[in-house]
């Protein structure tokens, strides 16, 4: 919409109507309310001189009256002291005086609750408050919201509300919000370009101006933040008159103590911080070009980080002039893109710390070698004793190229996951393997990942300093000796070693199954996954070993899963098609899911009971001896339950897909840094795309639910790859 039109409308409106401010007090910010009232008093003086209607400040929820606020403070202090006494004196003994203190604590907590009840805030409270204000024919032109902002939710001691909900509620009161053109968003990251476009303007379509913070907000009682609020309210009219972003920035710089906070203001398309004066459109455009340049040059970083291609075996020797250094420069200059919604996630995943360490990689490995020389020799000796191939020796790591070092780490990984029959190995061997697992983690976290485990000083030669993630007792002979004294705790216990081996094996098989999704590969992964589940269940048993009659109910359930996975592996090896439809596998899958529901915490809930019924009927259908009549009955009942539960099952399935997507995103993010396999990221990204397609399919299936596609939606035997 044309800027001139809106600004004219704003002035015409402000001349004619009585427009008020709404203060949403999420964070019990009495001082901010006081400063907003001061500002309003000054604004009203001008209105009075001009004969215009005066404005009011409506606060929701109202803060406690001073006397009650003092009482609450006193209560908090007494509770604090009481908790300290309880923690220090009543932790071990249960003296009668402790019981008295505990009952006193309960009483005070109740009292506190009754105070907090009065200032509670949520969507319902807002709705009621707005309904009341609409009855009074109130017309809000500005909204001040004070709280902590994070992941789309504003929160504070009084409660919370999502930004989307806030907008939704406001828009449901059109008379109140039709002229809402200004937002004071007093929280962290509330007025950066991403928040303005992606949050405020989206949720409040008539919005013209946003005042707030582009980074961290000031604390609720910090003088600079309070001044900023008061001054900005008083200068709001001037802000609307600014002709360009520079003028807006000049105005911002007239605010008392602006240098002490991180203010950001936007009117129409203009955007200003103390260091930036531009338009939202320009910022986006600039970012689009910077991010595309960054993407191009990031291939250089990836190449050296992964060290797979021959021309990238080692980062450049010249640290002063290189493509890596160009990448670093661009990374710093594109900082503003972190604040643009479209690029935020992508930009945040790029690490400057890691880039610095890659530029100075040669110094880093030299320092690693110098600080852990003895341990490296001991690792090599252990590898020899355990019969590892002679190619798997680390020698002097500073003389290895990054490529050679990473190859050795991969060889070490293969060597460790190739270990079988741990239970038959002597304790000393288990202690050595456990130490090698530690070493593997240590070398990945430092020389491979190049993250914050590497002390900054290692970027310079001859730094005598230990890694943040390694102390000498974690690997080398010292660790083996320590482990021998306390094998379970130090990881040489059979089940913990099996777990470590299983986890690493699973990781590798998963990558194989995604890269090359044959039935054989997928079955191998499924089996490893089931073995892990089984081992966990067994471990659960073992940890209750002293209770002779205790048996984890999940052990039996996971045994079913293991059996199914073994069956799938056999079928895959035979080269059979559609192995997941094999009746025995389906039968085992259903029994496994039935067992899981029966053992779950909410087994008694109505939903669990219905799900159980559904699965039991499906199991009946799998029975070859079922009569025609029985089959019809079971099908009918399945249809009935599914139609009753369709929304819930759909939602559960959708949530599961969203979760899988989020989890794979973590893996994708970590694989950026783990770098052990150059294709990790691409593989996971492909998988995420698949899930997104599945989510789309779910929406389509839901629409087509009535036409008998329900099985495809809900019957996934294991929730696994198959």
């Amino acid at each position: 919409m044309n800027r001139l039109f809106w600004i004219t409308a704003f002035f015409l409106f402000s001349l004619q109507a009585k427009a008020d401010f709404l203060f949403i007090n999420l964070n019990d910010a009495a001082e901010e309310i006081k400063y907003a009232q001061k500002a309003l008093a000054n604004i009203n003086k001008i209105h009075a001189q001009k004969g215009e209607p005066l404005e009011e400040l409506v606060v929701v929820p109202e803060p406690l009256p001073p006397a009650e606020a003092r009482k609450l403070n006193d209560l908090n202090f007494r509770l604090y002291k009481l908790n300290k006494t309880l923690q220090s004196e009543c932790k071990i003994t249960q003296a009668p005086s402790c019981q008295e203190l505990e009952s006193m604590q309960n009483k005070l907590e109740q009292e506190k609750k009754s105070f907090l009840e009065k200032t509670k805030f949520n969507a319902e409270v807002l709705q009621k408050a707005l309904a009341k204000q609409q009855e009074k024919k109130r017309d809000f032109r500005s909204l001040i919201i004070s709280g902590h902002d994070g992941t789309g939710t504003f929160s504070g001691v009084n409660g919370n509300i999502s930004d989307a909900k806030l907008g939704e509620i406001f828009l449901s009161y059109p008379l109140l919000s039709a002229n809402l053109t200004t937002i004071y968003a007093w929280g962290c990251y509330t007025a950066n370009p991403g928040a303005i476009d992606g949050m405020w303007k989206k949720n409040f379509p008539n919005l013209l101006a946003v005042f707030g913070y582009d980074y961290k907000g000031a604390k609720k009682d910090a003088k600079a933040g309070l001044n900023y609020l008061q001054n900005m309210m008083e200068k709001e009219e001037k802000a609307y008159r600014a002709k360009n972003a520079k003028e807006l920035q000049d105005l911002l710089k007239t605010i008392k103590g602006y240098q002490l906070v991180k203010p950001a203001i936007s009117v129409c398309d203009m955007y200003a911080t103390p260091t930036e004066a531009s338009t939202l459109t320009e910022i986006k455009k600039d970012c689009a070009s910077k991010m595309s340049e960054l993407k191009k040059i990031k291939t250089v970083f990836d190449c050296y980080a992964r060290a797979k291609d021959e021309n990238c075996y080692n980062p450049p020797e010249n640290t002063s002039v290189s493509k890596l250094r160009e990448y670093y420069e661009l990374l710093q200059s594109a900082q503003i893109c972190e604040q643009v919604a479209e690029y935020e996630a992508e930009f945040r995943s790029l690490s400057k710390d890691q880039t610095i360490r890659l530029i100075f990689y040669r110094n880093i490995v030299a320092n690693l070698q110098n600080n852990y020389q003895k341990e490296f020799l001991e690792v090599d000796k252990t590898l020899e004793q355990l019969g590892a191939s002679s190619a798997l020796r680390f020698g002097s790591v500073k003389d290895l190229s990054r490529h050679d070092l990473m190859m050795r780490v991969e060889l070490l990984n293969d060597f460790l996951i190739g270990q079988e029959h741990i239970e038959d190995k002597p304790l000393i061997e288990r202690a050595q393997l456990s130490m090698l697992f530690n070493f593997r983690s240590a070398i990945i976290s430092t020389a491979v990942n190049l993250g914050l485990c590497v002390p900054f000083n290692w970027v310079e030669p001859n730094a005598i300093e230990e890694s943040h993630c390694l102390n000498n007792s974690r690997f080398g002979d010292e660790n083996v000796q320590k482990t021998l004294k306390n094998p379970e705790q130090m990881g040489a216990g059979i089940s913990s070693l099996q777990t470590s081996i299983g986890m690493n094996k699973l990781h590798k098989l998963r990558i194989e199954a995604i890269k090359n999704p044959t039935d054989v590969n997928r079955a191998a992964f499924e089996l490893a996954d089931a073995e892990m589940a089984w081992n966990f269940a067994k471990k659960e048993n073992a940890s209750f070993g002293s209770l002779a009659d205790y048996k984890s109910p999940n052990a039996d359930v996971y045994a079913l899963r293991l059996k199914r996975a073994e069956r799938l592996k056999q079928l895959a090896a035979l080269g059979l098609k559609d192995i997941t439809k094999d009746p025995e596998s389906v039968n085992l899958a259903l029994q496994y899911n039935i067992g899981l529901i029966k053992n779950s915490k909410d087994a008694d809930s109505e939903t669990s009971k219905k799900k159980l019924l559904l699965l039991e009927r499906r199991l009946e259908l799998e029975n070859p001896e079922i009569t025609q009549e029985g089959r019809e009955l079971a099908k009918k009942e399945i249809g009935r339950i599914e139609s009753q539960m369709s929304d819930l099952l759909y939602q559960e399935k959708l949530n599961e897909l969203f979760k899988r997507k989020a989890m794979l995103s973590v893996s994708a993010k970590n694989s950026h840094s783990e770098l052990l396999d150059s294709q990790f990221t691409e593989i996971y990204e492909k998988e995420i795309e698949q899930i997104e397609k599945e989510i789309d399919l779910m929406h389509t299936f839901k629409e087509r639910y009535a036409s008998g596609l329900s099985e495809k939606i809900f019957l996934r035997p294991m929730g696994s790859e198959f």
Binding site: T275, P455, M503, K539, M663, V666, S667
Partner: protein
């Protein structure tokens, strides 16, 4: 939570896993601003909102770095330096003894100036950690 999901999450923390560590925290990282992270709060997983990603970086953002250099009266000295050189100066000042850090700047920046710079950086870090 089904076991497969659990494993996926566990895998995500494998980089730091040690042999005995089977209790790795299940982590969910928000990779898109619209991902409904709050819906997962009751799942017993460790949630990382997007705004957390990269927040522990040692390198200070370019905007804040220049404000710090300005406060330390080093903006002119570093005027023709590239971003990496400026960032290295801040990191050295923060992590090293002033005399050692100053050696890298052969007379251009004294150990006293490094000490003052360090103070400003530390107070910046403190302020950043507060809210």
């Amino acid at each position: 939570m089904n076991f497969f999901l659990f494993i996926c999450l566990l895998l995500s923390s494998l980089t730091a896993a040690v042999a005995a560590d089977t209790s790795a925290k299940v982590q969910v990282l928000q990779m898109h601003p619209k991902f409904p992270l709050e819906k997962m709060a009751d799942e017993g997983v460790e949630l990382h909102p997007l705004s957390d990603v990269g927040k522990n970086e040692e390198v200070i953002t370019a905007i804040d770095r220049d404000v710090i250099l300005n406060k330390a009266n080093l903006i002119k000295t570093t005027a023709n330096w590239d971003a990496l050189e400026k960032d290295l100066l801040l990191l050295r000042a923060e992590k090293q003894e002033p005399q050692r850090a100053a050696k890298n700047y052969s007379g251009k920046i004294s150990s006293q100036e490094i000490t003052r710079l360090k103070k400003i950086i530390l107070s910046y870090r403190k302020e950043k950690a507060v809210k």
